[in-house]
Symmetry: C2
Subunit: 218 residues, 2 copies
DNA sequence: GTCTATACCGGGATAGAC
DNA sequence: GTCTATCCCGGTATAGAC
């Protein structure tokens, strides 16, 4: 009963501290202090630190999936949904400027540690990747949907990293605005909005070629 | 004499190990073993681990600057020079797939550790940023040069992070090809190649608007 | 300048009382 | 379920012989 509550609190605080200080740097002492329990009590709930990491990644999976489902339900069009994705950079601006992208920084760290959970961390990226690809697919980009998803994901990731490194909120906002402007243009000429005029996959691709170019300022 | 050589070797191996395993995770034991000296001998050359980090960042500054100077000398046009920048993703492909971007991952880690050297690490990004901005400036993008520089830097950074997380060399290559294609288009319509037709800054900006859109596939 | 030996601390992890 | 006490290890850092 109370045990489950404590366990949840441990996961919640560990999640936060892993994000703020990094997995390796966040100690049991830190987490115990944050939860308000003794270090020893800890091991009743988790046998090792890696077990806590697993639980944290699970928690993040659930939260990410819930967020994506929410966007799916809210956004009327695929474009609106992708825009919601891009806007997490704004919604979480303060945290990103301070600590970077929660997924990117965790993934990067676990790779350095050669940790067994590195693939599970990368799996968090996959949730976004597949969701984005589905949106672009719905927009009619077919075979290019995944490439577009990776492009948006990579750019957002890079923006988060540099905004974090430079603590530059203006840069972050500008990039979000430009990504949205690009999305707008993409949607206007998307085959899904002009289904009658575009038939063959080759035509879609040719049209795509014209419109895929970087955005830098609004 | 031999001391200076040892010192250089320590910095060299520390640089490599900080990149491969991360600053915190790379221990004195690791570095000492790599250099082939005892842990104790270490402290004759550096009083603390932070001092080694400082030396490593200095070393990276020098190497980055030399690389940028080299590109400046080699590349005949600004576009060719920027292309050289983008191509480091290919040149260092193996290392990037395994360990990510040396600058991005170090910067990210030091921020998590709230390390005093975090700004010095971000300064490595600044070297690239300013150099890229100068290239775009030479291409005629004037006030937008820095924004373009940041855009390219951020995108490259994101590509490195995701290529690392997914160990996806095909993605990395595709993104480089697309970045180069975008550069090509940018250069064709750059005000520097058509100086007579473009006068006011507003015209440059308007023209710029048309051509800044994302690239996703080749 | 390089070594061995060692101090010291904080990390993760365990044992056992309550 | 939670605590205190403790273990063990590996980390950084120091002392002092050579």
């Amino acid at each position: 009963m109370g045990g489950a509550i404590t366990r949840d609190q441990i996961i919640e605080q560990a999640d936060r501290l892993f994000y703020e200080r990094g997995f390796e740097h966040a100690s049991f002492t830190d987490i115990a202090a944050a939860v308000g329990i003794s270090r020893g009590n800890f091991y009743y709930h988790f046998k090792t630190k890696d077990e806590i990491l697993d639980a944290v990644i699970d928690r993040r999976r659930v939260k990410v999936q819930a967020m994506l489902d929410g966007w799916e339900a809210e956004g009327r069009t695929p474009v609106e949904r992708v825009r919601r994705f891009v806007h997490i950079l704004i919604a979480n601006q303060t945290a990103i400027l301070r600590h970077g992208c929660p997924i990117g920084t965790l993934s990067t760290e676990l790779i350095k540690l050669n940790h067994t959970a590195q693939d599970r961390a990368a799996g968090l990226f996959t949730l976004f990747r597949d969701w984005l690809a589905r949106q672009f697919h719905a927009m009619g980009w077919g075979a290019d949907a995944d490439a577009l998803a990776m492009w948006v994901l990579a750019h957002s990731q890079g923006v988060a990293t540099l905004a974090n490194a430079f603590r530059d909120d203006a840069f972050l906002q500008r990039e979000v605005a430009d990504l949205c402007a690009w999305l707008e243009r993409l949607s206007v000429t998307s085959p899904s909005t002009t289904p009658a005029t575009v038939g063959a996959a080759a035509d879609v691709r040719r049209e795509f070629e014209v419109f895929r170019q970087p955005v830098t300022r609004a």
